[in-house]
Assembly symmetry: C2
Homo-oligomer: 446 residues x 2
């Protein structure tokens, strides 16, 4: 059996666990998956422990640590998203198979394929180096990422000493294109708010009362619409005050990323792009703050017509925040904005939601340069330095609790279908991940 | 037994039929109700026929018509609204009882009580006049009003000759307050539209793509919000061009209706009133055109947050139109308005909905004055002349097909709870209705 075949066989074993963390019926599967990983890590000679939590277990594995070496923590998650709607899958989500050079299975990219490549990379290095590694290594594998990692920050705090490290490495982000090594050095943060507007005591007949009362559906629309001007800028007072402008090198790097306008349009399927004037699509997605309506609702939404003035309406808004915006301050600004414009014809019940800051590290730090070199060696191409638009709260927890930066060396391709039917992972990226781990540990060990 | 007791006993028999027209399980009950009414009218000596339709039957009854008399058609409907939620009723909806001077039952006000008062009024007149009436009378009682009278216009066209008349009388509108005789001489019309906006091919992660695409939820809010200016005026170009201004006598009459501002606020329960500047609440409700959002929806509307950019959104809008607006033209104007502002980041699927013109008659015509006199005699008070804000399509059908005006002499009190649990009808209004019928036929016969 070739090493590649052996790697795939083991990967398939891991993929067969339906470790859906959000579904309590799969609690046993999640545990079985953790045990399988722990057995694998033990077999590789690592000191491995399964830590129960209030939810699903955390697996921690280490080699023998020596004080003269850097300590690298590799994070991954072995839980997966649900698989509905099942009938859209071309092959069953937990019966992995290779077609067209891709592994098709739930969790293949997110995140089993990416962290298991690291595990196999470590195994190869251990085998080639008589059981030694160039760094002190910690594997930290959780089973609750897809439900928001509710127990991980507590776990980090409780085991902060045991998990002390110089840097974290995670492969859970994307590559801008096949064959283009990609390092993500920044993420947007988030601030969520929502409000309910109440007007009439009950739904009213829009013939009998229409024109004489503020319609909560209309007020919701007006208040939501107030968030943007015609150029796509957020109108909340002070919203942009602390935003750090993009550096020249960032704009230059990103302008070289394979056509960001075309790819954004292709990936989203929109009839035309739209966004803040003066910025490219990638700049808008990765480095500019936003206000988005995630939900709005009032009145009759079924077929046909029902001529009511609804008694209430709701709006959910999330802001993506960038360095150096303060996400709690953004929530306060949003509250002040909506309170100032809420008309007296309705009452507003405003709720402050969850939030988290943006994250950014210096890709030209020693660690950043080591990661860039590892990527270049693995893919034989200069890495692209990007940010991503989403939030990864756990990255912020590593910064806040362990005090270290995270190298995000993602292997996900744009069409990998994570969280959707027909999730897939390129076999070449799986193998590249194994090699990348070796190169990364070598660079970080220097 | 007093006549009043006899009237109530028969009324209760009529109320016991659960003649819910929208519910096919009650088809037999609707038919039984029609037969009961036909039997009653026959017993009174009227030539009565039950006409089957594609839906529920129409009952037509006539006295002997003489060419030297005016012909009056009295319209009513014997079908009722559903009764859900049943547990909110203080007494069972089809077991009528009198409490606090009110008859409590589904259909008591809408419309069994009001048309049955006319029937009993005719019976009293026939009894007092040796079987004669001062007019040629036609009773037209339908069983499909609560489902939009789908078969009545066709029935009117088919039997136009048989139903030819000089004027129609209907008691299916409201009194402004207990003891205040009220004649409704105008109704607003309606124009409905709706549109769906489609942007991304699927719901997008608002972190990954937020800021780079037009968000259909936001565009829906912006397009809905575009309908009004800050003063509550509709912004659609040409919307007010054909609107007839209120006459001085109308504004004066309505300003005397027991405090319209207070009653509108009390009935609706809004924290504050709002509407087009320069008009009172009653003027806004009865004589000014409106644009109302009846439904708006997009994205995640459940508990908590889901940070999506929804792939689509929907908005339902209805306009109340007034003399001399053309409801079809208003739909065209709305389409043009939305098409002009729909941004290129979304595609719009616009649907033209149902429509009907406003109705107004001259309350100082011969028929109008006869109705006013009948009301004054019945209630010993000067009648108030009002319009209402809702639409009654059948009134327009009488105008269009039979070519006659309708006298709307409603007996419904503001707190009668039609279409809701605990519908009720004041016993005093039931008796007043019986007397009013006599006075009306006498006046019209002069």
């Amino acid at each position: 059996m070739t090493p590649e075949q052996r790697h795939l066989n083991e990967f398939f074993e891991l993929l067969r666990f339906p470790s859906i963390s959000t579904d309590s019926r799969h609690k046993g599967d999640v545990e079985d998956c953790a045990r399988w990983l722990a057995d694998k890590l033990k077999e590789m000679g690592l000191a491995t422990e399964i830590h129960p939590t209030a939810g699903h277990p955390v697996v921690v594995a280490k080699n023998d640590h020596r004080p003269d070496r850097r300590t690298v923590l590799i994070y991954g998650h072995y839980d997966v998203q649900p698989v509905d709607p099942l009938d859209l899958w071309k092959s069953p989500p937990f019966e992995p198979e290779v077609r067209d050079g891709m592994v098709w299975a739930r969790g293949s990219t997110d995140n089993k394929g990416q962290h298991f490549a690291h595990i196999l990379g470590v195994e190869e290095t251990l085998r080639a180096n008589d059981g030694d590694l160039p760094v002190n290594l910690i594997f930290l594998l959780e089973g609750e990422e897809e439900i928001g990692s509710p127990n991980l920050p507590g776990f980090l705090r409780e085991h902060a000493e045991d998990l002390a490290c110089d840097v974290v490495a995670v492969s859970d982000t994307g590559m801008v294109a096949r064959g283009v090594p990609t390092m993500t050095y920044g993420l947007r943060g988030i601030s969520c708010v929502e409000f309910v507007l109440r007007g009439p005591a009950t739904d009213l007949h829009s013939g009998v009362y229409g024109g004489a009362v503020a319609n909560p559906a209309m007020v919701a629309a007006q208040m939501a619409a107030s968030l943007h001007d015609a150029d796509g800028r957020v109108t909340i007072e002070g919203f942009y005050d602390k935003v750090q402008p993009l550096a020249d090198w960032e704009r230059e790097q990103w302008s070289k990323v394979a056509d960001g306008e075309a790819s954004t349009q292709a990936e989203t399927g929109v009839p035309a792009l739209f966004g803040e004037k003066g910025y490219s699509s990638l700049e808008r997605r990765w480095a500019r703050p936003t206000a988005e309506i995630n939900g709005i609702g009032a009145g009759y939404q079924g077929e046909g017509s029902k001529t009511v003035i609804p008694s209430e309406s709701m709006v959910k808004v999330s802001f993506r925040v960038v360095p150096d915006q303060d996400p709690q301050e953004i929530i306060k600004m949003a509250r002040a904005h909506f309170e100032a414009i809420c008309p007296e014809g309705v009452t507003m019940d405003f709720e402050e939601g969850h939030y988290g800051p943006a994250y950014v590290m210096d890709p030209f730090s020693d660690f950043g340069k080591a990661a860039q070199t590892a990527l270049k060696k693995t893919f034989n191409a200069d890495p692209v330095l990007i940010r991503e638009g989403g939030s990864i709260p756990i990255i912020q927890s590593f910064k806040d609790i362990l005090g270290v930066d995270t190298l995000m060396l993602g292997l996900a391709l744009p069409d990998c279908q994570i969280h959707a039917p027909n999730e897939n992972f390129a076999v070449e990226n799986f193998e590249a991940g194994i090699r990348m781990n070796g190169a990364l540990l070598e660079e970080l060990g220097n």
